[in-house]
């Protein structure tokens, strides 16, 4: 049973927890205004996705990918796709240049993360995480996790492509929720969902060839896929996650330290100060990539050890890398 037929793939139900994703040869751009069939495009993107999902799974990311069934079909965990997609940019290109009048190819010191609403009718508009949260598309905790995971995927794929002389300019990720509420990387990661430039010449290797009528789309897609196949062993990346946990006494619990501090502040020239609550924060560093599993681990540590839930509340934020710990 086909549960969804999109612009480039069909999703077929296998059982309650899994789907078969079939890559078709259709290619489209500009929200489907421009479309065509390109022989073998489905197969090549399916093979690229397979390779990239296998790599991500190997590095400890949680993805929907289970296994490749045929050259155009993947077995994946069935998920409910989150309504926002996440874009990560290392260089300026595409809609970012148009939106802000930028030249193409400006390298960013810190990769940019953007959220977009996954909605063709609205032309996939940019959305701030505040709006996405208020509109109930994602929770705050999820927004933070999606950003951390996307940054880690960027670091990983950037290194992988660099090793085959390609520059990862930008890419889009979709995320989904499994039936038991786990957030995983879903959909496809292929030449259709990223920009790749030849390291030496800057030659475009991705779907921009189709958008800009540069021709030879399948030749370049195939080249990407063949170079990826040459990768035999994965480099150690030492991916890290850092976490800030904040512990606060519950409102109902007397905070003697806060009260004493409040009194002494009031005695000084600080007017209009009404309340002081003294909390605790802990900074944790993990030698693993941000993921839903890591979030579960942090939840357990925060609830069972760092706080006493009887008198304290906790909150946390997960970041990719160790920089955020250097406060």
């Amino acid at each position: 049973m086909v549960v969804y037929s999109g612009k480039a793939k069909d999703v077929i139900e296998v059982d309650e927890d899994s789907v078969k994703i079939v890559f078709r040869d259709s290619i489209s751009a500009f929200d489907g205004i421009k479309k065509e069939e390109i022989t073998d495009k489905g197969k090549i993107n399916c093979l690229i996705s397979t390779k990239l999902f296998e790599i991500l799974n190997d590095y400890g990311f949680e993805t929907h990918f289970i296994k490749k069934l045929t050259d155009t079909e993947l077995m994946c965990k069935r998920v409910e796709i989150l309504p926002v997609e996440v874009v990560c940019r290392n260089y300026s290109a595409g809609s970012l240049c148009k939106r802000y009048g930028l030249n193409k190819g400006i390298e960013f010191d810190v990769p940019l993360i953007e959220f977009f609403v996954k909605d063709d009718e609205l032309h996939d508009p940019l959305i701030t995480s505040d709006v996405a949260i208020v509109l109930g598309m994602i929770e705050k905790k999820e927004a933070i996790l999606l950003e951390a995971i996307t940054r880690a995927v960027n670091e990983t794929l950037r290194k992988i492509f660099e090793s085959i002389s390609l520059i990862l300019v930008d890419f889009k990720l979709e995320f989904g929720k499994t039936s038991n509420g786990r957030i995983v990387i879903a959909d496809e990661i292929s030449a259709d969902t990223m920009r790749l430039w030849e390291k030496e010449s800057g030659e475009i290797k991705d779907k921009d060839r189709y958008r800009q009528n540069l021709g030879d789309v399948i030749i370049h897609y195939k080249d990407i896929q063949e170079r990826l196949e040459q990768i035999k062993s994965l480099p150690p990346l030492h991916l890290k996650s850092s976490v800030r946990v904040i512990i606060k006494l519950k409102e109902s619990v007397l905070d003697p330290a806060g009260e004493v501090t409040l009194r002494s502040l009031k005695r000084k020239e600080f007017k209009n100060i009404e309340d002081v609550r003294v909390g605790k924060s802990s900074f944790l560093l993990f030698s693993e990539t941000p993921s839903f599993a890591l979030q579960e681990k942090i939840e357990k540590i925060s609830r069972d050890i760092l706080s006493n839930p009887l008198i304290e509340n906790h909150s946390y934020e997960i970041y990719f890398g160790s920089d955020k710990l250097q406060v």
Binding site: P256, L310, I311
Partner: protein, 229 residues
């Protein structure tokens, strides 16, 4: 008769407890956290006070994560007796073997002084012969304010689990006699079965006349009596 007395890095009451036991002609056995002695070998366990792991995070929180404490629930379920004094009480709450939590004194000061205690309504054999009496024991703690939700406190009362309340010389439970802001002047509680007792005051430091009081020794006598029979 094998009575274990725990020693964690940072605790300092284990010798006092051993001394009180030897006054009753029992040689307690020091159980050091890093030795990983199986708890099953003991008839009873006394969790001595002090500042386990420097009271980092919260008093008792890190000791509660130690391998020994992982075995403790099983030990308690087998009906054997456990007494937690001061930091030992804090550890028992952090392991959730006893309900509630001990948090910072309302005065934000470390309090070291003699207080009066009253034991009422408890059905634990560890409190035999203390019912209705006013006991004089010392306290020495920074985090002794017993707290739990009102509903839970009601439950403690209804199940006769309030072992000790701070009171004045005459046994009246008053606001002034509450040294640290504990809800309902609670100084010690038992579990519902009565084989676990946690208390902030130090019975081992009130087990000799020359220390100013012998009121605490009764608790250890009760423990020995229970193990014998």
């Amino acid at each position: 008769m094998k009575i274990g007395v725990t020693k964690y890095p940072g605790t300092n009451n284990e010798q006092d407890v051993l001394r009180a036991l030897s006054e009753l002609n029992v040689k307690g056995i020091l159980v050091k956290q890093y030795e990983n002695k199986p708890l099953d070998d003991f008839d009873a366990l006394i969790i001595a006070g002090g500042f386990s792991y420097g009271d980092y995070l919260r008093p008792g929180a890190l000791a509660a994560q130690s391998p020994m404490m992982e075995e403790l629930q099983h030990f308690v379920d087998s009906g054997r007796f456990v007494i937690g004094v001061c930091n030992g009480f804090q550890i028992l709450c952090e392991t959730k073997i006893l309900p509630g939590v001990l948090t910072t004194n309302t005065s934000t000061k470390f309090i070291s002084k003699w207080i009066y205690l009253k034991s009422e309504n408890s059905n634990s054999p560890l409190l035999r012969n203390t019912n209705g009496k006013v006991l004089r024991l010392p306290i020495a703690h920074f985090d002794g304010r017993y707290y739990d939700k009102e509903k839970e406190i009601e439950l403690l009362k209804s199940k006769n689990q309030v072992a000790f309340q701070y009171c004045d010389e005459n046994g009246d439970i008053t606001l002034e006699s509450n040294p640290n802001g504990s809800v309902n002047n609670i100084a010690g509680i038992t579990n519902s079965r009565g084989n676990v007792l946690g208390l902030m005051p130090h019975p081992e430091r009130a087990s000799f006349e020359y220390l100013g009081s012998k009121d605490g020794i009764q608790i250890f006598e009760n423990l020995l009596e229970e193990i014998k029979c």
